[in-house]
Symmetry: C2
Amino acid sequence: MDDTNGPIRMTDHTVRAFSEQLEGLSALVAQMGGLAEAQFAAAIEAVSRRDSVAAENAVGGDARIDAIQQEIEDRALKLLALRQPMAVDLRETLAAIKTAAELERIGDLAKNIAKRALVLNREPPIRLTQSLARMGKVALSQLKQVLDSFSSRNAALAEQVWNQDGEIDEIYNSLFRELLTYMMEDPRTIGLCTHLLFIAKNIERCGDHATNIAEVVYHMVRADHLAANRPKADFTSETTIPFEIHQA
Amino acid sequence: MDDTNGPIRMTDHTVRAFSEQLEGLSALVAQMGGLAEAQFAAAIEAVSRRDSVAAENAVGGDARIDAIQQEIEDRALKLLALRQPMAVDLRETLAAIKTAAELERIGDLAKNIAKRALVLNREPPIRLTQSLARMGKVALSQLKQVLDSFSSRNAALAEQVWNQDGEIDEIYNSLFRELLTYMMEDPRTIGLCTHLLFIAKNIERCGDHATNIAEVVYHMVRADHLAANRPKADFTSETTIPFEIHQA
């Protein structure tokens, strides 16, 4: 069975073992996805309900997510080295590595949001946290959908998520303007509003990572790339806020 | 040469062809690194010298970087499928994919910084842009070093970069506080300072990506992971800015 001049030949036995390992890898990604989703949900709860216990959970859970990412990478590398998958199996193995990398970043973002929530929860409530929570829910729903598309190998669903990214960006744009106006009206809130600003940005980035995963899933299933020009509608980097607004 | 029951056997000829393809892949990553570095440098120039031409270049150059990333991925996938590299060759191929992903994000960050510079350059200068430029130079130097470590397969240099990440975070922390104070003292600057705040955050993230590349290089060369607990010294997410500061 073992060819000393080159890689292992595929017998029925090795094919079965390989397919089990690939399924195991995929299941681990799904598990990591579930954890990242739960952690992101807890971070949003921490903001919307001023729930510091949820915040502590979201901060504490990140190490587990990091550990799973490491395991996915190590397993995928072994699989590539020992089994040398081809075509769709190769794409699945790489999709596991790439999806895990995106999920790891979502875990980081959730942790960062939760840390900021802990600070916010020590101070008087700010009205705009509710808009943030709404934005968070949209991002969470996209994350759920894209994880479903990964598990069910559904390229059409992945493409749908990919097309939705503009929605989060629009909420972000309007929230961004609201936040600036709020700060200008009451400069004592600048410190706290800065946290809200970064929470909003982090939620928007979570949406971007969901979009990235959608691209990975699409490529895994269809062996083709979603259009190079992804939907992009966060224009806040190009916005000038006129000096006069603060007097409104 | 072609074994119909399995992958291609390695003859002298295929070994040579393989090693040429791997070198080609590596050279493409180096080229992409050079472009990302140039684009990031232009973005920092755009901020520090109020140079809108540099800014336009940095914005326009991003598409090229994205295209190279796509090519690196496609080539790496073909290499994995057709050549089925093992051990260090496998790690090099994966390192190319992962480094390209980090560089793509650095390109995005440079583009975002440059867009914000275009806005800032239309408004009166703000003193703090110089601190930003200093921070940008530190990040740029880390990016240079880590790209050198990639090209020279130097794990020790990669580890050195990895250990330096705290420096950027420290500058970021102090700049962050300066910016908040500045906004509180003159709320008319809030809109512009928000751009500075995000530029600072983007530079800090560029440092993070350099650190990620350092981890990739280390693993590629040593087949081992840098400690799971990376240096982390951005504490701004945990900072409360007291309401009283604005009255100072």
